[in-house]
């Protein structure tokens, strides 16, 4: 391989090869029964070159030889962006506190399909014990992947990684009313507790048994960790180094100014053991680390890959991620962790005379992300009356501006939860939000 890269350097100034290989096995249950077991393997490589100061790129999932890829990459460099960086040299994790990041679990890699089927059956059994009329779709998935990286400046790294995921959709249909509850657990380690998943869904089913009316107006709301992205998505997008360079978001000159509630602190962190976004290096060889993005309501950092960092005249934050083998690295979030508050979910509910809990929404990201405006159907939400959950709401929409609402956080939950294996959010309690309901 190194020989090939040396050869590449006869055609281009410098070159980088990224290889990915993966094997995914999802065991799917549909309508309470085993439906399919798939084994899907993929392999691909991507070549990025810097040629006469410009970036060229090519990728292949087939048997394309190195020479053909090189020819394509050099050809595209003619029209590529001007490179504002060079590939990094020797790669070593400098961080003393976190030299090794655990992302591979042998037990997960060895997990048998029989075992996965059993887990799925167990989940369905528990759900049916609760209510025989439930429809459950369950996926038990395991994934193994290998990443290999090397460049013509001598930089190289490789790692392998495992993922285990359980996801459940429980559906209860009465006439034209469908109650649908989604929940999932993800980890790099084979340590997931299916009971945690089913207990949560059963609690939600109990809360949702009765549909109760809501009047339109402003009212206190609690976003569960599952729904927290509604409020955080705009800011995450706005702190992306690319957006900052293009001056698309209003955050460009807002560092270290008080923009949001003191309670709001979150960071990007690719070094957490067995979180789905973790790895020793990002997808272009920069050490992953913890990057404080917002601290006590003030922006501390934007996140960058090599190219955008070079353009901004700063260092890459180790956030250069590829969306797939066909994509060049762009600034992305590895894992996003939001700091917890001090108030329990129960105490929040107790505090509310009339309001709603928002657990699942339709149309995430469909609003105007740049301005912060959001407007979502509350696909799963509960009504609070006099400090108690009294039932489920329906035909209800919430709307607001995330960048504004986060100035007035009443409290954050004291028990943050992982969502999609890469976000960790607490409950977020807002004193007042617009709610529109069907008359």
């Amino acid at each position: 391989m190194e020989k090939l890269l040396r050869q590449a350097c006869k055609e281009a100034d410098s070159a980088e090869l990224f290889k990915a290989k993966s094997k995914t096995i999802p065991v799917n249950f549909e309508v309470n029964r085993l439906k399919s077991i798939d084994i899907s393997e993929s392999e691909g490589k991507a070549l990025r070159v810097i040629n006469k100061g410009r970036i060229g790129f090519s990728s292949s999932t087939g048997k394309d030889g190195f020479n053909l890829m090189l020819e394509k990459a050099v050809a595209t460099s003619e029209f590529g962006s001007t490179a504002s960086f060079d590939f990094p040299g020797e790669m070593k994790r400098e961080n003393k506190k976190k030299k090794n990041i655990a992302i591979y679990d042998e037990k997960a890699a060895d997990k048998s399909i029989e075992e996965m089927v059993k887990i799925g059956e167990g989940i369905i059994e528990r759900m049916k014990d609760f209510n025989r009329k439930l429809r459950c779709d369950v996926t038990i998935l395991k994934d193994y992947s290998e990443i290999e990286y090397l460049n013509s400046r001598g930089g190289n790294f490789s790692y392998h990684k495992t993922t285990i995921a359980y996801s459940v959709m429980a559906q209860q249909t009465e006439d034209q009313d469908m109650l649908m509850i989604y929940s999932s657990l993800e980890s790099g380690k084979d340590n997931l507790d299916a009971k945690e998943l089913t207990s949560e869904i059963i609690e939600n089913l109990e809360w949702g048994e009765k549909i109760v009316p809501v009047e339109s107006g402003k009212m206190p709301v609690i976003f569960t960790p599952k729904a927290a992205l509604v409020l955080i998505l705009s800011i995450i997008s706005g702190l992306n180094g690319k957006m900052i360079l293009k001056k698309i978001f209003p955050f460009t000159s807002q560092k270290n100014k008080k923009l949001w509630s003191d309670l709001l602190t979150f960071y990007s962190d690719g070094t957490i053991d067995f979180a789905l976004g973790s790895a020793p290096f990002d997808d272009e060889g920069i050490e992953m680390k913890r990057v404080p993005l917002v601290e006590k309501g003030e922006i501390k950092n934007f996140y960058y890959d090599l190219q955008t960092a070079g353009m901004a005249g700063v260092e890459s934050t180790g956030n250069g991620l590829r969306a797939g083998i066909q994509s060049e690295p762009v600034p992305g979030i590895s894992n996003l962790i939001m700091e917890e508050g001090k108030v329990s979910f129960k105490e929040m509910i107790k505090d509310i005379p009339e309001g709603i809990v928002i657990d699942q929404v339709l149309g995430l990201g469909q609003g105007n992300i740049i301005s912060g405006a959001f407007s979502n159907n509350v696909q799963l939400g509960y009504k609070i009356e006099k400090g108690k959950i009294v039932g489920r709401v329906k035909d209800v929409m919430i709307a607001g501006n995330a960048i504004e609402e986060l100035k007035n956080i009443a409290a954050l939950g004291n028990k943050a939860k992982w969502v999609e294996g890469k976000y960790k959010f607490p409950h977020i309690y807002l004193k007042s939000l617009s709610v529109s309901a069907k008359k």
């Binding site: 149309g363 407007s375 696909q379 035909d395 617009s434």
Partner: protein, 261 residues
């Protein structure tokens, strides 16, 4: 063919228009959807529910989608047709070798058909419809839409507007999501309708509702069907983006919930 520079010009004037627009006030409105939004609605909210693989093993869902049920007013006709020449969702045969054809899903307001693969057709004792499609050779054929649309009614656009005291004219779409019965769509552009006339622009228009009630609440079907072929394609079970097209004439729907501050 429309020139790309004209499209750009229109996008620019739309963006400038939106600068002046106030956020829409939340509540329940009579809404007119343009052809794009109408098409997205019929694809997302109703089309997906017509895919037999969601139904065939689920008694309660099959009950809900029993053929012969009333789904709308007699002016409502919904079709999926993979045999129309030269549309994005068209092909002579589906990916299980079944000839594509015109399938009525709703005829004169009555649920009359659904979309099948060979597997779902046999299991439900119905005929395959030519809707088994795979993204490419790496995927299994599953039940998918082709070209899905609402047939023309006979109400001109002006007549759809008339009689609406305070409503919303929603055009274009930049995103939608459904979970069987509930749907939500973001309009690309919105205007208030006041006393039967299109009035000031409004922004952040997101429509939402229950599919079944909303179909029954369609009270006017325009006569200006347009097929829409842009968009990112359709996604289902990890097979994304599959080329499809959709379309509709202008639709007037009462009692739609619109989110707003």
């Amino acid at each position: 063919m429309e020139r790309i520079s004209d499209k750009a010009q229109r996008a620019a004037s739309r963006a400038v228009n939106l600068l002046k627009a106030q956020p829409v006030e939340g509540g329940e409105y009579t809404v007119i959807l343009d052809q794009t939004l109408g098409g997205v609605f019929i694809h997302e909210a109703f089309g997906h529910l017509s895919e037999a693989d969601f139904l065939y093993e689920d008694e309660r869902m099959s009950d809900l989608m029993k053929l012969g049920k009333k789904f709308g007013s007699p002016q409502l006709n919904v079709v999926d047709d993979g045999s129309i020449p030269d549309l994005l969702g068209s092909a002579k045969y589906d990916d299980e070798g079944v000839r594509t054809k015109k399938n009525y899903l709703i005829k004169e307001g009555i649920l009359t058909g659904r979309l099948h693969s060979r597997e779902t057709a046999v299991k439900m004792g119905e005929e395959p419809t030519g809707n088994a499609r795979a993204l490419n050779y790496r995927f299994k054929p599953i039940v998918r839409m082709t070209n899905t649309y609402v047939e023309n009614g006979n109400t001109p656009f002006e007549d759809l507007l008339s009689g609406i005291k305070k409503g919303i004219y929603a055009r274009d779409c930049y995103g939608g999501m459904t979970t069987f019965e509930m749907f939500t769509f973001s309009a690309g552009e919105g205007f208030m309708i006041r006393d039967g006339k299109i009035a000031e622009p409004v922004k952040d228009v997101v429509l939402s509702g229950n599919l079944f009630t909303t179909l029954l609440n369609i009270e006017g079907v325009g006569n200006d069907l347009k097929m829409i072929e842009s968009g990112g394609g359709c996604g289902k079970a990890g097979q994304n983006p599959l080329p499809v097209s959709f379309g509709s004439p202008h639709l007037r729907i009462k009692k739609v919930v619109v989110g707003g501050r």
